[in-house]
Subunit: 211 residues, 2 copies
Amino acid sequence: MSEAGRRKGTDTREALLDAAESSVLDKGFAATSIEELIADVGITKSGFFYHFSDKGELAKALLQRYLDREDSLFDELFARARQLHDDPLHAFLIGLKLMAELMEDLPGGHPGCLVASYCYQENMFNRDVRELNREGVLRWRERFRGYLEEIAEIYPPRAEVSLEDLADMFSAIADGGIILSKVVRDATLLPKQLLLYREFVRSVFLGTGRN
Amino acid sequence: MSEAGRRKGTDTREALLDAAESSVLDKGFAATSIEELIADVGITKSGFFYHFSDKGELAKALLQRYLDREDSLFDELFARARQLHDDPLHAFLIGLKLMAELMEDLPGGHPGCLVASYCYQENMFNRDVRELNREGVLRWRERFRGYLEEIAEIYPPRAEVSLEDLADMFSAIADGGIILSKVVRDATLLPKQLLLYREFVRSVFLGTGRN
DNA sequence: GGCCAACTGTACCGCGGGTACAGTAAATAA
DNA sequence: TTATTTACTGTACCCGCGGTACAGTTGGCC
């Protein structure tokens, strides 16, 4: 790079990942061409292969970065919720509200979940990447199970509901809500689904206020 | 076809759609090659283009068939549920149970939802196909909204819950549950999520049995 | 006997993933 | 000041695949 000054390698790498992420989320991994990514970033094909040995390495790095960021986001969000209320149930409900608001404020709606995208292109990826995806979802399960078990110590839940399933339900509602929002082209649907999940959690631990 | 006897055209077309469906669901549309489909079915490339003018036509026909089949399945399933119980709430709860059992009995787990698959490859498809996908989801919304409104006439629901959102929640839970099952590689997760949704519906109209 | 549906066969184009290296500009360490 | 490393560029090439074009063929039905 002669005039604008050569970027640091990590910058170019991140730029490639940024370009790849948005492209993968709206065309899928197979249809995301390396040529298109390098055109966006402004490097040559050789430059791409300097950073990633092949397209599979890009896929892996992309998912890794995505999962790390999601973890950080959850950490931050539920830590803030806990600052706002010391009771674990109410902190959790506040956290879900904050998340719904966050999703509502995304301009143009939620861009999509890489886990879901990869899931529907499983056979494009090697064992490593599939395992990474699985572990990502299991980590979400453990996070939410942790929150729910802490709540259950104080608020005895209805016996019929498994806390593990209720933890998984967050992932299901989030991924399902994103799909709903994208397909119907109504960005309000995702936050609405998150708030419905919140209602369900509330009713499991506090009852519905009837009967 | 010389020895086995020439198939009727609709058979070959259906065979192409079958091959395409399973391939799209595990590799994505872009990675599904025409060459692979014709190898499966046992025809030549020219034969493919006799049935579909291009790959986009295949995509459209595939989604159309999928949505029709889903509609039929829902029709049958909830009709049977209604035969088993005349009360709309209990019929609906029975229908959800039947669906959970159906999903549990799928050998190798649920193969995936084309709507979700297409959603994460939006830009591969033309306006027609995207609109078809949207209408499919909206049809599911109207179907479930119908069931829920009939229920609400008899069982006054909790005021905080929108019936439209609760109707959408089925789609979200189904699509999210499928993703969960596929990624974690545990076929029991989808039926569990459907039963959790069922619990939520129950608590909205009947309360939790506490408080 | 002729038409038509359902194909086959051949030939070709362009894009994109991927390989293989050799070369080079700028920053950094010795 | 020189050597090394980082972060690339440039060139050249292979192959699979989507897609086009179109002429020919085969079996069934009226």
